[in-house]
Amino acid sequence: MSTPVPARIDRRVAIKWMLSAGAGALVVGLPRLGAGAAPAQGPAPAGYGVDPQLLAPHQAGDYWPLTFTDALRRQAAALCDIILPADEHSPSASAVGVVDFIDEWVSAPYPACAADAKVVLAGFIWLDAESVKRFGAPFADASAAQKLALCEVMAPEAPAGSPLGEASAFFRRFRNLTATGFYTTPVGMKDLGYVGNVPLARFDGPPADLVEKLGLTGEVAW
């Protein structure tokens, strides 16, 4: 990519921007917040354009710089893995690149991603502050039981403007990003029982015993 990749943004700088910029100014992505408020970042990164190369597999960071610091990556990984932990069917979310995906998402120069970046970064700040307040350690360093307890606080739906509104919106958004990142990988697809995307000589429709079990045998007309 021709866009120069700036150094990763220091988390303290990010927090400072967020606190000083005010909610209304945060509708753009984190990288763009730098304009005028932080060391020179070069031009705002563009998207991948209307005619991107489709065939070669892409890596997060190919088109626009990622923005998570190491500390944010640890926090994101910890939260991802509470949301989708390893079990007997599949590994945890962070094991299949979900942190890279979420970093790519909140760093992307598209309006929907920028709106999510605002929610996610505010949530990270809330989560660490709450963790320190309750347990004396940032979220990533809290015990498994403490992490779980914090997620139980955030998970119920809370109206915007209520004390837990921001945390609840963050958790729901982060949960969906985590699930999207996980289930769109071959590992996640296998866990779901998606068995397509392979060429077949013929298409036979659903198995006959399933059709019969659902009482649909009479519907098979062609």
């Binding site: 509470i82 949301i83 932990p85 289930y183 060429p199 399933l210």
Partner: protein, 600 residues
């Protein structure tokens, strides 16, 4: 002869075809297979689905897991190149920003145009659809009937390959025996929708789609399509052998490298190029049709997108196939002393009566489809079944409160997981995390069904396009300004769709998480959003009530023809592409006849 740069274009052409999609591809195919020398000018870049289609890529190989973005609104792997809802440097405007008054215009800038990504739904208009005013007093009758078009539907279906069945339903035409390819088996959710739809009186039958489920019958079809033309038969037979049948994987919207579905670039253009009669200039943005001293078109003026330089090309006949609105724009921009209001616009009707398809969606979760054993449901990369409009009698009796019908497209099953929304939807009250979320995902994945209503819009005086008085594109060419307004016929139709779909969800044992919108105003998709825009150069019975005659020939300029959806005098609920191709073939036959007679 093949792909030329503007500098290599000579003056030897019989016909210039502007555009390379369904209309341009079909017109160029028919003309060149019959010996006419054709120059096709496409505004976008060259594009080869055989080498550019990301057939098996998974979402994790794409930026943002392939999610929709302003750069690729239908997702990263959608075939559309160079466009979408916006095209860089080529704006359009809306006269009103009011809710329900906006028109959205999808454009591609690539060889083959929008045929590269379309849904491949290939439905025939029925007899009623050509004479709607006769039936209910609204809109316009076409100057042609189903019988005029039917032979061309047959030919197009044989040429491109269409799967489906003949069910003998009202205004849902059958094809002659042997024309259609076998339809694919229905998926489990489709079978359930069929069974439960019956309790509501809704028929579910195989849809017709331009996907081949068997190899093309290269021994028989060429002789039927090109009787007495040994060269055309040989070329088509060879080309048909290079098309593979569907291998039951990958979404058609990405395009098809094995040429199992129809796109202009895989079906129309290869044999047309093989005749040696077709030249193609890509990256050529046609600005206007030029007019000679006698008032006939002399050719076109176009901008080479690469250099920005202006070029001219000349021919005996000009065929406009740039898409309905782009063709109207081109005619409005073709101003001369003789045609001060634009070419072919003595009626003042160029740009008028733009219609889209009426669209609304509804979805639900079906407990019966939870936790089903894994099996491959990819199928033909799109719909296998649909519900054609079924309430003609109730409508004719005035019982529905809206005049025209809709068909229902629906999707279900374990399709490839993508970045389309929560895997386990929260609006169904499932907000868990941890191992529970993984269990829920396994249980609920593939248990949803989504319905899309696709209905007929009646042309009206408030839905049209014109040249914006000030805005221009990056070459200084005036751009379109759209005006849009739905009538109560469309808004009530959408309310009916939503009620029907909610009932259908319940009939399948599902529960609706919200109530249907009682008046339809909020549920109706924006104009243009279904990407079925037609009209703007409608055909009619006289030069005062239409832009083109029954041969899609401009009333005012006899060597200019419109091959795209611009000529539609109504927009039946049936997806327009098959009718565009049938009419383009018919128009091309007329051009060939008139050239032979010395009339062009």
């Amino acid at each position: 002869m093949a792909f030329l740069s503007p500098e290599d274009v000579s003056e030897k052409y019989d016909v210039i075809v502007v555009g390379s999609g369904a209309a341009g591809g079909q017109a160029a195919y028919t003309l060149s297979m019959d010996g006419a020398k054709v120059l096709m000018i496409e505004a976008g870049r060259n594009y080869d689905p055989r080498t550019e289609t990301a057939m098996f890529n998974t979402p994790d190989q794409a930026p943002l897991r392939g999610a929709s973005t302003p750069d690729k609104p239908f997702g990263f792997y959608d075939a559309t190149v160079g466009g979408g809802w916006t095209v860089p440097g080529e704006p359009y405007t809306n006269a009103s920003k009011e809710a329900g008054r906006e028109f959205k215009w999808w454009r591609a800038r690539m060889l083959g145009g929008r045929t590269n990504h379309w849904a491949r739904h290939a439905l025939r208009n029925g007899p009623y659809d050509f004479k709607p005013r006769t039936r209910d007093g609204l809109g316009f009758d076409w100057p042609i009937s189903y019988e005029d078009v039917a032979p061309y539907y047959d030919k197009v279906e044989m040429l491109i390959g269409v799967y489906g069945s003949n069910e003998g339903l009202e205004n849902t035409p059958d094809s002659p025996a042997g024309v259609l390819q076998p339809p694919p088996k229905a998926r489990i959710g489709e079978l359930l929708a069929r069974q439960r739809g019956r309790t509501l009186g809704i028929p579910v039958i195989p849809i017709h789609r331009a996907v081949i489920t068997r190899p093309m019958d290269h021994a028989a079809i060429p002789a039927k399509l090109h009787p007495g033309n040994a060269t055309a038969q040989r070329i088509l037979a060879e080309d048909m052998q290079n098309r593979a049948a569907c291998f039951w994987a990958t979404q058609c919207g990405r395009g098809c490298a094995i040429r199992a579905n129809y796109q202009s670039t895989t079906v129309h253009l290869p044999p047309a190029l093989a005749t040696g009669n077709l030249d193609i200039v890509v990256n050529g943005m046609v600005r206007e049709v030029s007019v000679g001293p006698t008032g006939k078109a002399s050719g076109v003026v176009y901008i080479d997108r690469a250099s920005g330089r202006e070029h001219r090309a000349s021919a005996r006949v000009v065929v406009l196939a740039a898409s309905a609105c782009e063709t109207a724009r081109l005619m409005l921009n073709s101003k001369s002393a003789r045609f001060p209001n634009g070419l072919g616009n003595s009626s003042g009707l160029v740009g008028k009566y733009i219609m889209d398809t009426v669209g609304a969606n509804w979805g639900g979760q079906i407990p019966l489809l939870e936790s089903l054993p894994p099996h491959n449901e990819d199928g033909a990369g799109g719909l296998h079944v649909y519900a054609p409009w079924w309430l003609y009698k109730e409508q004719a009796a005035g019982k529905l409160g809206f005049a025209r019908g809709y068909h229902v497209e629906f999707g279900s099953g374990k399709s490839m997981p993508g970045p389309y929304g929560p895997v386990v939807p929260e609006d169904e009250g499932r907000t868990g995390f941890g191992v529970k979320l993984k269990e829920d995902a396994r249980r609920y994945y593939g248990s949803h069904i989504g319905f899309s209503g696709r209905g007929e819009m009646i042309p009206n005086e408030d839905s049209f396009c014109e040249l914006d008085p000030t805005a221009v594109d990056k070459w200084g060419i005036p751009v379109l300004r759209f005006h849009w307004k739905w009538s109560q016929h469309e808004i009530r139709q959408v309310a009916h769709m939503q009620r029907t779909f909610a009932d259908w969800i319940e009939a399948m044992g599902g529960k609706n998480t919200k109530r249907p919108d009682a008046d339809g105003t909020h549920a109706i998709a924006n104009g243009g959003f279904i990407i079925h825009e037609v009209g703007g150069t409608i055909m009619g019975s006289s030069a005062s009530n239409s832009v083109t005659n029954s041969w899609s020939q401009a009333w005012d300029v006899k060597n200019v023809f419109v091959a795209d959806g611009g000529v539609f005098a109504s927009n039946a609920d049936k997806n327009p592409t098959l009718t565009i191709m049938a009419l383009a073939w018919r128009t091309a036959d007329r051009i060939l006849d008139e050239m032979r007679r010395g009339n062009l």
